[in-house]
Amino acid sequence: MRQPDYRTPHIGIDSVEHQSRLLELWEGEGGLKGFLGTVDHKKIGIRYIVTALILLVFGGLEALIMRLQLAGPNGTLLNPEQYDQLFSTHGMTMIFLYALPILSGFSNYLWPLVLGGRDMAFPRLNAFSYWIYLFSAIFLYVGFLTGNGPNDGWFNYVPYASRDYNPGLNEDFYSLGMIFLGISVTAGAANFIVTAFRTRAPGMSLNRLPMIIWGTLTANAANLVVIPAVSLAFFLLWMDRQYGTHFFDTSGNGQPLLWQHLFWIFGHPWVYAIVLPAMSFVSDGLPVFCRRPLVGYPYVALSTVATMILGFGVWVHHMFATGLPGLGMSFFSAASFVIVLPSAVAVFAWLATIWLGRPVITTAFLYFSSMILMFVIGGVSGFMTAAVPTDWQLTDTYFVVAHIHYVLIGINVFPVLGAVYYWFPKMSGKLMDERLGRWNFWITFIGFNLAFLPMHLTGLFGMPRRVYTYADGMGWDTLNLITTIGSFVLAVGVLLFVINVLKSLKSGAPAGPNPWDAPGLEWSTPSPPPPYNFAVIPTVASRTPLWENRLGESGVVSSVDRGMLLSQGKESIGSSAVDAEPDMILHMPEDSVAPFLLAIGATVLFVGMLLKVWFVIGIGVVLIALGTLLWLWPRRDLREREPVHG
């Protein structure tokens, strides 16, 4: 019988029959097909998180080896080539293979749950973006592990990156690997944007969105339009290296600074993309442990967007020493000062939330609150570099290394660790060990600050970046030793974190649906949630649905127990962009191996390009074309085509 094209959804309450019907519709296949073909955002989110944490550990090990080499002057543990590949791979791993994917993982897992939906807008694209991430990470690490790792730093300036000075495969692995990874980020960005605007629970207007939506959406909207800059830069570099073009080389009227502009037009927005979502974890999580809603929600939301917009206009501050005209530098310097203000809004909002709330100290709270100070320390060292003449002294010294680690560890890693403690119970159904958590926190906190606080001095005393060793008598010996010791303490802290995760997975106390008595929609589902997330689609009336009865605000109240059932297929609700009025019933795709096959095709293509074998490139292209055709073939069950007339 032909299904109707328009339907009034049934409204009702949950029941055992309803749940088992939904389970039948939403439970994915088991076995290999299920593993390779799952489109469940929760499974994909966990894959992202686990993969990113593994890469965090790799990056950390790379750092520890470097710190051993730098513990004293004239180190002999590493030769220059090894050191150069280590520092470059460390930067690439942390900034590209850990910092964004970990946030994407949390957002992938949480978004439909906090939005009151049943999946992301494009579940197959979601699976695809994970596989590309995994395969590009493997591609890049094959380079490193075969002694062909990137060796020109994570921002890879030309001419040193060109074939004349870097003849090996190192830069080809890096260039192609980054273009490869860029596909994953772009696919993820498209998914987040459409999900945020079109798949929210009824009533979740823009001013009621959880902060994780604001943070991640802003970051991904930016990624969508800046990733092409870096992909292009790497592509042009690969062309110069392999096909004799002259984009960057002066012998053909090329322009070395073109690389820097393209890279930093991407690079600066990128560093905001890897902290804004993490800041939003704090904005959602910290208030729970202060037992009150976030102070200044509209200002924090707007400042997130404002920071990102301003973030497009500051990239030249990475180039203050390149001989640019003073007028241009003044503009970018001023913008780099101004951007401090929206960033500061979040800091004051968090402090006010603590002061005007009833803080309860838990491990998650410790991570969420301590990051405020480390954010500010990282922020002020950045403020110092905005002052152009001072930057001429600070840039390319360890002062900048101190800055970047305070902002990355302070505004990404610490919120991530807090987010794990906060959302682990939802994802696993178990609580993490609080006592072990305190040990984890304090050792991590002390280790991090011991390692990186003295580094500001190391920089002020002139130690340049990216040196495989240094002479004695420069005033750097003791500082470097302290940093090395601190880095190992930090490593112990991370180890305790991993132990806590594994131990709690095995034997953590049962969590229940809402162990923290938190206000968000995700806490109204079981822990872990069933594949369909919500048995009935909630209707949202405020920012803190589960706290409405406590906050005593008059007016309408959200409904989580009664709502649309949407059980006539694998269905979810689509909504209007601003006010989240329900405006269509979405049919979601079943598990499919097309994304996996397409990712294999892409891998074949990139390997072919690396080896410059046209036959392999051809196979890759064919696989991609077939995979795409298979994926996009109009399907009846998704209502993309008419059923056969009968």
């Binding site: 309860v360 100290i361 491990t363 002020v380 002139g462 340049p464």
Partner: protein, 318 residues
Amino acid sequence: MTPLGYLDAAGQRAHIILPLTWLTIAISLLVCVVIAVLLWLGVRRARSSGGAAETRATAVTGGRSGVRWIGMGIAISGVPLLIALVWTMVALAEASGPPADPGLTLDITAHQWWWEVHYDAAQPDQTFTTANEIHIPVGQRVLVRLHGGDVIHSFWVPKLTGKTDTIPGQTNLSWMEADRPGRYRGQCTEYCGWQHAHMAFEVVAEPPAQFQRWRAQQLQPAPAPTTPEQTRGRSLVVYRCGACHRVGGTLAGALAGPDLTHVMSRSTIAAGTLPTGPGTLAEWIEAPQALKPGNLMPNQGLSAQQLTDALAYLETLK
């Protein structure tokens, strides 16, 4: 003792920069202390510590709006921000513009991993080229024209001036003016490959008379050899070292490596890697790859006699 530190200045340009640096340090420390205190006092208000049970046990409160704290915080932050912004613009204007009437002009080309320094002059026969050690007269503004040789490097003498990159395809301008005599260390500060860590140089600021004497000496060609050893040494140096190096007054005229005409007058060799002296020079010539792996000078494989002869000649190149 921090030879590359920039919290003290010995030159005019560095003097323009330093107060701004101290201002921003002071603001930064103040902000960190204030935020740390606010955070500490806020967290100290916590009435319970624990886990999920303690969190649930603490009642949810609507609390006051608190928005004005954000407003106040932003307003207060704006003040030091504005001060720093204005000060920056002023300092940038003052520190920028290359000098209109420099007392001395240098053309510096950065190579992997050494510094080629050419002294410009009105008359061509007053110009000369040296490497890695730059002498300047105290109290005179020196224009530095920076040329990209191979990859991007950065010219930095922290006590005298901020960093300026050397970029192929363009000439960047910097300037320095030492206000007292001294030896000031510089180092490349843009990653440029394997031996980026060993690409230092020195700026020696001297009283004008002393500078003129140094300059006159640098204009001299290499002295003629006076002993048989030196004679053999000169032939060897011209034949072997001349493949990459120049020695003024001989047939060695290649420009791939540092000019050696006055190599013994410099305090270090291999761009700040080793102090100059017969022992280190011997070590360097025999096995440069052991001391600075990856640098562009191959191990020479000289016999003991050849090495002695070469050193005998090289030591005359003062």
